[in-house]
C-alpha cells in the first residue's frame, strides 16, 4: 500500500502537535507528511511567549527542530504560505508558485490579532503580540519609547502589559469594557484585579473607546477617546482579541462561520471531503477555542479519524488559572452565573486582597463555576468538581472559606476523583494515567513528568498531580519517606533529636548506632556536622568533624567556580570604622582580590587561593576582624539602618541592637543560613520583613517578625510579637531559633519550615511565648551553652600550625594551581571564561 500524503497547513502549536502525534503513532509508516509555515521557523511555544522578556531565548521556546523533522521524514517548508486549495484535484498552491498534491489536508492556520479599525493604527510603533517577530519589534520600539499603552485588558493584554513594564516603560492598559478580564471575571473579581494591578504601577483606564490616534505633544502619539479624554504615549500594543485565520478556507469554498472560523464537526472535518481544521482556526458548535489544550484535543481527534478511528471532539473546558503581573487569577466554568437559577457564594477579604465566588446550581448540588483572585489554591479542586459534575459538600461555602486554624480551606480528597478526571489539560493526562504510572513504578514528580508528560505544559496542575501521586503511593503501601539519604532512615529533625537526647558527639558514633552502613555521603555528613555544631559547638575542624564538612567549612571560605575562595569578615550591624575599611582595602589590594559590597552590609573579597587564606586572615584578625561565617549554614548578617542615633525619624538605636544581636548569634550553625535585620522605625529601611528574624523599632520597644525570606522564593515575615523590651526580644529569638534548629529539615529555610509546621504561626507562638511544650528553658539553655563556646574559627586556625598544613594546593610541592586564569574587567580581575582561555586573551597567570 502506498503512503497517504498528508499536508498540514501552518506549523504552529497545534499543527506541530498533529505531526508529532503521527510520528509517534504505531502507523507512522503509512503517512508521508508535508507542512508549510508562513513563519520563518518551525513551531514554538506561543503560550510561553512572554518568557522571552524574562530571559528565554528563541531556542528555549522551540517545540521541535529541523533535525527532528528531518530524521522523522517530515517534509517542511518555511517562509511560504498556502494561497489556494483545489479540492477537486486535491492540490494546494504556495505563494512561491509550487503546487503539491494531498490525500488529506489539515488546516492549522491559527488566528491573528484583531486590531480595531481606528484611524492611525497603521503607524510605526503600533504593534501586536503574537509571534517572535512581534516580540523583536516590541523590544526595538521600547528602546525608543518611555510610555507604552496596551489596548485591551483581557488575559493577553495583561500579559503584554507585564512585558512593557519589564522593558522599563510607563505602562497603561486601555479597556473598552467596564472591567479587566471581562470574559473570565465577574465584577468583584475584576475590581480586585484592577486594584492589585494598579498597585504594581500599571495604569488602568476602563470604559475607554479609542477613536483616533494622532500626533502627540509630549509623546509620539495621542490616543483620543470617545468621551473626549485623551492619553499620550510613545507606543501602542493592540491586544483586543484574536480572529480565526480562515481566509484561505473562505476563498476556496470551505464553510466558515458568520463571524469567522472554519466550521468543523465532531471529527474535525470541514465541509469539504478530506479536509480537516484544528486549533484556533476551527469553529466547533459555533465556538472558537482560544487555548492550546482544546487544539491539542482536536489534533488527536483528526488523526484518529484519518487513521480510521472513532474519537470525537465534544467541546472543552475553558477554565483558566494564571499569574498575571504577579497576581493569581482563576476562572472556572460559568463564571458569570449565566445558568438559569444559578446561586452564588462570595467571599471577599479586603485586608489580604482575596476574592472568591462560587456559582452553584439551583438545588445547590453541583458546582457550575468559580472566580478566584488573589488566592487560587482551591482551583484544582473546583475545576475538577465542575468538569466531573461531582456532588458538592453539604456546606459549599467551606470550599472558599479559610479554615479557622489559618490553614487553607477544605480540600477535596483526591480519592473522590474519577479515574477519567483530566488533571493536566495541556497534555491531556487523566487521574487514571497518573495512577497507572505510579503502579508502573514512578514515585517522584520527575518520574511522573517523564512518563506521562503531566505538568510539563503550563504547570498549573502540578500540586494536584503530586497529591494524586502521593495518594496512590500510599494506597500501594509505599511509605512516602523523609529519610535524609541512603545512610539514615531518619529525617534531619529526628537525627537532631537522637544527637541531643543520646548525647552523640561524632558522625561515626551516629552512623554506627543509627545508620545503614557505608561511609555516609555529602548529604548526611554536613547535615550531621551541622547538628553536632548546633548542639555541642565544637571547633568545626576538630579531627573527628573535619571529614564531615563541605569544602567551604573546611577552608572557612566560599569556594568559587574556579576553585579559589572568597573572604567575608564579620562587620556586625554593617558598622565599620574608617581604619578597618582601610585594612580591607589594603589587603584586597595586596592580594589583588576582586572586591564587592554584599547585600548584607559587608565586604566580600574574591579570588584568594588556598595558600593565601591563612596569610590574609592573619592580617585581618590582627586588625580586629573575625570570620563572617559566610561559608557556613549559619547566622550570616544582621542588617540595620542607622536608627535614632543619627536619623531624624528613628525611635530606637537599631545599630546598637543589630550589633548586640549579631554578636550574640554569630557562629550559630543551623539547618540553613539565617539572616536578620533591625530597623529603627516603621519606615523599615533595613527591610527586616524579608529576613528570618526581623526586628522593627516602635515607640515602646521592638516588634519581632519571623520566618521571612528574600531570595529565590520571597516570603513576607510574620509579625510574631509586639512592643517587646530588649530582654524579652532576645529571649524570644533564642527560643525561636533553637526550636527551628531542633525541628527543621535539612536545608529548610525558616520560611518553609513555618509553612510546614503543623499549627503554623499560632503554634509557634504557643511554644515560644506560652511555653506549651514546657521546653522554653531548655531552648534558652542550649542557646546559652552554644554562645558560651563561640570561637572565631579563623583565629583558632591560624594559631594551630597543624591545621595550617591543609592550606596549600599541593601536599608535595609549593607550586600553585596552574589552571587559574584571569582577565581584567572594570579595573578588577575575574576568572577568564572558556573562550577567553582558548583565545589566550590577556589571560594573566596569577602567581603569588
Amino acid at each position: 500500500m502506498s503512503k497517504q500524503r498528508v499536508i498540514v497547513v501552518g506549523n504552529g502549536m497545534v499543527g506541530h502537535k498533529f505531526i508529532d502525534s503521527v510520528i509517534n503513532s504505531d502507523n507512522a509508516e503509512n503517512y508521508e507528511i508535508l507542512t508549510f509555515s508562513e513563519e520563518p521557523r518551525l513551531a514554538y511555544d506561543r503560550v510561553k511567549l512572554s518568557s522571552y522578556f524574562s530571559g528565554s531565548t528563541v531556542d528555549d521556546l522551540m517545540l521541535t527542530s529541523e533535525e527532528h523533522y528531518q530524521s522523522a521524514g517530515v517534509i517542511y517548508t518555511l517562509n511560504d504560505k498556502v494561497v489556494d486549495i483545489d479540492h477537486d484535484n486535491k492540490t494546494v498552491k504556495l505563494a512561491s508558485g509550487k503546487v503539491e498534491r494531498y490525500d488529506k489536508l489539515v488546516l492549522a492556520t491559527g488566528s491573528y490579532p484583531f486590531v480595531p479599525p481606528i484611524p492611525g493604527k497603521d503607524q510605526p510603533h503600533c504593534l501586536v503580540y503574537r509571534t517572535i517577530e512581534d516580540l523583536e519589534d516590541i523590544t526595538a520600539s521600547a528602546q525608543e519609547s518611555k510610555v507604552g499603552v496596551v489596548v485591551g485588558g483581557g488575559l493577553l493584554g495583561l500579559e503584554a502589559a507585564n512585558a512593557l513594564k519589564n522593558l522599563g516603560l510607563e505602562t497603561h492598559v486601555v479597556e473598552f469594557a467596564p472591567r479587566l478580564m471581562a470574559v473570565q471575571l465577574d465584577e468583584g473579581g475584576g475590581n480586585l484585579l484592577r486594584r492589585k494591578v494598579e498597585a504594581l504601577d500599571v495604569n488602568v483606564h476602563t470604559e475607554k473607546n479609542t477613536k483616533n490616534i494622532t500626533a502627540g505633544e509630549k509623546h509620539r502619539y495621542r490616543m483620543e477617546f470617545a468621551d473626549g479624554s485623551y492619553l499620550e504615549t510613545d507606543m501602542i500594543l493592540f491586544s483586543a482579541g484574536i480572529r480565526p485565520q480562515d481566509e484561505l478556507a473562505r476563498n476556496c469554498g470551505i464553510d466558515v462561520g458568520e463571524r469567522g472560523g472554519i466550521v468543523i464537526d465532531n471529527y474535525c472535518r470541514t465541509s469539504v471531503e478530506d479536509i480537516y481544521a484544528i486549533g484556533e482556526c476551527a469553529l466547533w458548535d459555533s465556538k472558537i477555542f482560544g487555548l492550546v489544550a482544546p487544539g491539542y484535543q482536536m489534533a488527536k481527534v483528526a488523526l484518529s479519524h484519518i487513521d480510521g478511528g472513532k474519537e470525537e471532539f465534544t467541546g472543552a473546558d475553558m477554565s483558566t488559572k494564571l499569574k498575571l503581573l504577579g497576581v493569581d487569577v482563576a476562572s472556572v466554568g460559568d463564571a458569570h452565573a449565566r445558568t438559569p437559577g444559578a446561586q452564588t457564594y462570595t467571599y471577599e477579604d479586603g485586608v489580604n486582597e482575596v476574592y472568591k465566588r462560587l456559582i452553584v446550581s439551583e438545588d445547590r448540588k453541583k458546582l457550575l463555576g468559580a472566580v478566584l483572585v488573589g488566592d487560587v489554591e482551591a482551583y484544582g479542586t473546583l475545576q475538577q468538581m465542575c468538569v466531573n459534575s461531582m456532588d458538592l459538600p453539604e456546606a459549599p461555602e467551606q470550599l472558599i472559606l479559610p479554615a479557622s486554624d489559618g490553614s487553607a480551606g477544605a480540600a477535596m480528597g483526591v480519592d473522590a476523583l474519577p479515574d477519567t478526571a483530566q488533571l493536566c489539560s495541556c497534555l491531556d493526562v487523566t487521574k487514571g494515567d497518573i495512577v497507572d504510572a505510579v503502579q508502573g513504578g514512578c514515585c517522584t514528580m520527575g518520574d511522573i513528568k517523564e512518563k506521562t508528560e503531566a505538568s510539563t505544559g503550563c504547570g498549573g496542575c502540578a500540586a494536584l498531580v503530586k497529591s494524586v501521586m502521593d495518594n496512590e503511593l500510599k494506597n500501594l503501601g509505599v511509605e512516602v519517606n523523609n529519610h535524609l539519604c541512603e545512610h539514615f532512615n531518619y529525617s534531619r529533625a529526628e537525627l537532631a533529636d537522637i544527637v541531643r537526647v543520646k548525647k552523640i558527639e561524632s558522625f561515626d558514633e551516629l552512623l554506627d548506632s543509627h545508620g545503614n552502613g557505608g561511609l555516609g555521603c555529602e548529604i548526611c555528613k554536613p547535615t550531621v556536622g551541622s547538628i553536632l555544631a548546633s548542639f555541642w559547638n565544637d571547633y568545626v575542624l576538630e579531627d573527628k568533624h573535619m571529614g564531615l564538612q563541605d569544602t567551604n567549612d573546611i577552608y572557612l571560605g566560599n569556594m568559587q567556580k574556579d576553585g579559589t575562595y572568597s573572604i567575608v569578615p564579620r562587620v556586625a550591624g554593617g558598622e565599620i570604622t574608617p581604619d578597618k575599611l582601610i585594612v580591607l582595602g589594603e589587603v584586597a589590594k595586596e592580594y589583588d582580590l576582586y572586591t564587592k559590597i554584599t547585600g548584607g552590609q559587608r565586604i566580600d573579597l574574591f579570588g584568594a587561593q588556598l595558600h593565601e587564606l591563612p596569610e590574609i586572615w592573619k592580617k585581618l584578625v590582627d586588625a580586629g576582624f573575625e570570620t563572617g561565617h559566610a561559608y557556613g549554614k549559619s547566622v550570616r548578617t544582621v542588617k540595620s539602618c542607622v536608627g535614632s542615633t543619627w536619623c531624624r525619624y528613628g525611635v530606637q538605636d537599631s545599630v546598637g541592637m543589630a550589633i548586640a544581636v549579631e554578636n550574640r548569634y554569630k557562629g550559630l550553625r543551623s539547618p540553613h543560613k539565617l539572616k536578620f535585620a533591625v530597623s529603627g522605625c516603621t519606615r523599615e529601611c533595613a527591610e527586616a520583613q524579608s529576613k528570618d528574624i526581623g526586628v522593627i523599632a516602635t515607640e515602646n520597644g521592638w516588634n519581632l517578625y519571623v520566618c521571612g525570606n528574600g531570595g529565590m522564593r520571597p516570603r513576607h515575615a510574620d509579625l510574631f510579637a509586639t512592643d517587646l523590651d530588649d530582654e524579652t526580644l532576645v529571649k524570644y529569638i533564642d527560643r525561636v531559633l533553637m526550636f527551628y534548629i531542633r525541628t527543621a529539615d535539612r536545608l529548610q529555610r525558616t520560611s518553609v519550615w513555618l509553612e510546614n509546621l503543623e499549627g503554623g504561626l499560632d503554634y509557634l507562638r504557643e511554644v515560644v511565648i506560652d511555653d506549651k511544650l514546657n521546653i522554653a528553658q531548655e531552648l534558652e539553655d542550649e542557646m546559652t551553652s552554644n554562645i558560651g563556646k563561640y570561637q572565631c574559627e579563623w583565629k583558632t586556625t591560624i594559631e594551630n600550625p597543624e591545621k595550617l598544613k591543609r592550606f596549600r594546593h599541593f601536599v608535595n610541592s609549593d607550586e600553585t594551581d596552574s589552571n587559574l586564569a584571569y582577565v581584567v574587567e572594570r579595573e578588577q580581575r575575574r576568572p577568564a571564561n572558556e573562550q577567553e582561555r582558548e583565545n589566550q586573551i590577556p589571560a594573566v597567570e596569577v602567581t603569588a
Binding site: 561511609l519 555521603c521 555528613k525 563541605d550 567551604n552 576553585g563 594546593h809 608535595n812 610541592s813
Partner: protein, 118 residues
C-alpha cells in the same frame, strides 16, 4: 593496606608523594606528579588510600581533592565540591554520567609513605 590495581604492576613506576600521616582521615589532599594534579584520599574506616585526577571535568577546575568522601551503594566515591557529581574512587567513573570518567591511579602505603603509580 591494599593497592588498587589499575595499572600493570610490572611497568608501573611508583612515586613517593608524602608521609601517610599527612593524610587526615576521610579527607583528600592534592599531589603534583610529573606536572599532573592527583587527588589522594584516605578513608579511615577502611584504612585505605585512593587516587584519582584532581581536575573536575564538569566544573572545569582542580578541586576534586576538596570534596566529601562517602558511599553511594557499593561505590566508594568523592562528591565534587562544585556541582556535587560523584566519582568512584576505584574506577574514576562519574556515577551521574557514565560517559564521563577521570583517571584512577594505583596507590599504596609502604614504610609510612604514600606511593602512587603513574
Amino acid at each position: 593496606m591494599s593497592a588498587n590495581a589499575v595499572s600493570d604492576e610490572q611497568q608501573t613506576q611508583w612515586i613517593e608523594v608524602c608521609d601517610k600521616n599527612a593524610l587526615d582521615s576521610d579527607t583528600g589532599v592534592c599531589a603534583l606528579i610529573n606536572g599532573k594534579q592527583i587527588a589522594v584520599f584516605y578513608v579511615g574506616k577502611l584504612d585505605e588510600v585512593f587516587a584519582i585526577d584532581n581536575y573536575d571535568p564538569i566544573g572545569k577546575a582542580n578541586v576534586l581533592s576538596r570534596g566529601i568522601i562517602g558511599t553511594q551503594g557499593e561505590h566508594i566515591c568523592v562528591a565534587s565540591p562544585l556541582y556535587k557529581e560523584h566519582y568512584d574512587l576505584r574506577t574514576g567513573e562519574c556515577l551521574e554520567n557514565s560517559d564521563i570518567r577521570v583517571t584512577a591511579y594505583a596507590v599504596k602505603i609502604e614504610n609510612g609513605k604514600v606511593l602512587i603509580a603513574v
